[in-house]
Symmetry: C2
Subunit: 136 residues, 2 copies
């Protein structure tokens, strides 16, 4: 199986529907919000959404935001398999900005190394106000 699929061609029907909902959305969506949006497409139970989300996250097409219990479509321009992604989440408009930074990733890796910690997954989520929302 491909390590980092960015091709929506080989997605299943449910995965395509969930991916579509996330892509259409301007911000992150909860699994239950997705479920509601897809009721007309035959979705009836949370598990249908969660199963699709699991796969999409595995493919790297979708990210999970731990601090929101929600999911976003990957908008990272050159999503080159980097798994150290920082998210800037605006608490007012809900927009999410995806950032990768080599210095940041390197420092985290070094800190883990110093503690002899075998790093598997990194979660970095910044909460605050985006540029446009600070005016209001």
């Amino acid at each position: 199986m491909n390590e980092h699929v960015h091709d929506t061609a080989d997605l299943t029907k449910n995965q395509t529907l969930v991916m579509g909902a996330l892509t259409r959305s301007k911000g992150p969506l909860s699994a239950y919000t997705i479920l509601d949006q897809l009721r007309d497409n035959g979705f009836r139970a949370p598990l249908q959404v969660y199963r699709a989300l699991d796969k999409l996250v595995e493919f790297g097409l979708v990210h999970r935001l731990e601090s929101l219990n929600a999911f976003v479509a990957c908008r990272h321009p050159g999503c080159d398999g980097d798994d150290t992604i920082a998210f800037m989440i605006c608490e007012r408009c809900g927009q999410v900005n995806e950032i990768t930074d080599t210095a940041l990733a390197a420092r985290l890796k070094q800190l883990a190394g110093e503690a002899s910690f075998a790093l598997k997954k990194t979660t970095i989520e910044l909460r605050g106000l985006c540029r446009t929302c600070q005016a209001a």
Copy 2:
């Protein structure tokens, strides 16, 4: 009200009980686990725990781990009000290591600044295996 209380003297009864449960624990606890542990002390409803936790987090005595939906007592040696804390969470034994690093905090602050993002709260959680658990 004090910005960063590290004195358990002025806690209410419920806050003291919840703090005690977290301090006794080797790892993070969920709100409902705390509830179960405090049933003998008169706790009957989740809200009693959540209210205490809210305050303890506000005081800086307790941290919330977003990726676990759980809480840990602050073990940071010189907890000097730094709000950029990274957690290393062992997925095997559940132990949590608290880390502050000025380089890391500075880089995040800079990234936020470059995006004109008004940073309010930072969540950094590293999942993996601690030194001792890698042997097994």
